[in-house]
Symmetry: C2
Subunit: 293 residues, 2 copies
Amino acid sequence: MINKLCIIGVGLIGGSLARALRAAKVAGTIVGHGRDPAQLQRALDLGVIDRAERLLADAVRDADMVVLAVPVGAMAEVLRELAPRLDARATVTDVGSVKGAVVAAARHALGARFSVFVPGHPLAGTEKSGVEASFARLFDGKRVVLTPEPDTDPGAVQRVTDMWRATGAEVLTMTAAHHDEALAAISHLPHMLAYTLVDTLLRLDDRDTMFALAASSFRDVTRVAASDPGMWHDICLTNRAALVKMLKHYRGQLDELLAAIESGDGRYLRELFERAKQQRDTLPEPDRGRSVD
Amino acid sequence: MINKLCIIGVGLIGGSLARALRAAKVAGTIVGHGRDPAQLQRALDLGVIDRAERLLADAVRDADMVVLAVPVGAMAEVLRELAPRLDARATVTDVGSVKGAVVAAARHALGARFSVFVPGHPLAGTEKSGVEASFARLFDGKRVVLTPEPDTDPGAVQRVTDMWRATGAEVLTMTAAHHDEALAAISHLPHMLAYTLVDTLLRLDDRDTMFALAASSFRDVTRVAASDPGMWHDICLTNRAALVKMLKHYRGQLDELLAAIESGDGRYLRELFERAKQQRDTLPEPDRGRSVD
């Protein structure tokens, strides 16, 4: 049970977490804080939070659970502001898509209090953003990855695990480096490919016909290119090394494919497509609406 | 009204066309022909066709509409077999994803009878294949592109247009070259990117964790990698020039993105993501189930 939950950044993820924990009746008071007063007021109007606090100090006072749901690029600053104001009993966690950079920022900002910080990342989201898009079942059946460090307090890890389980999510643990490599492959790379595909067509003379025809395959592959540009800007810059490595792997494969098509190497093509189809067929389809993470 | 409709290749597309025309009551007898006796028998058992003919000569006898729904790579051979057996009143059309190569094959095979051939391509499909996956509404609200040549009989174009309109599709006309360039961009390229993405992960040491985590974005972007490998083998080889050109455009854009991430060029990244999101937001979502074309 969480007595006072403080959510910093009440957008899609922060708002959905508040809704889910309220629905599960595991949170007492839910307080929200954020940069954008209008967004915070909407969260209050929608009943997502019980109180909106304009000052961080008021928001975190007496909070036993503080969730940082701000963009990855804003984490360092929020952590710095938060450090001197944190309640002695508080557990802190985040929902950032990149973990190495957030862990480093938290270690730097929290110093001796770093052990109460449990780095986390719910693999859930949609291409929409903002508290209006939040809903209580966003995390139900999804995965949440926690990346505790050797000096993270096991009690804090347990509290954050319990919180996420109450939303219906499955909780996994791995190192921050492993998380960042895996996410570069399964999420950051696909987003880069989708953005680049839309941009490639935008630069063609004949783009109007092409977008008008836009086959379903194009819509499927590019759905995630509707995601929040600011968030992806931050992810690229904070998970730079892993993403560059993965993009180079991908470019190597694309060069092989291009060479096979140019030289008419039917065997290479057939084997590639069969191998990929076989693997893709093993992935389960989500049983809920489309989501992007 | 079509008196005798002959469908050569009764799979997802051929089967769905038969179902749609029967539902619209615009086809008298529907006869199927194909290489695979088991597939043909299933089409008969499912009531998709009225008669299954093992011999092409029997299938096309007296047919006033012949639809070639075989893989693009098989078109040339089927057209050669078909040419001497075609009824004098027959109109012929195809559903191939590539038009330039099919037009060339048809011109070569049909000779003086080429004018009755109307090259066509319904922009519809799913990542499934086979007659079991066929359904009458597959083309409803979708687009069909016809690419008549200067010497194509306008009456034949009208009959094929009427046939597709009866399925609920919208019919567009453009040149074969324009079609092949546009499809390379909006369908063939996205498929290549998806197959390559799955294959890139398959080659990583840590692939098991990655596929187990497989975020929704990965599933969205790679959905089309479950498509029929044989079909995509044929498309790559028959639309080689347009696809290579488009892949090179794409690779150029990917190299720019990679350089921007490596050098930490936040402004480039933000502008790219904003431009792509803005364009992607203008594309309507299909109002029916997921489909791939």
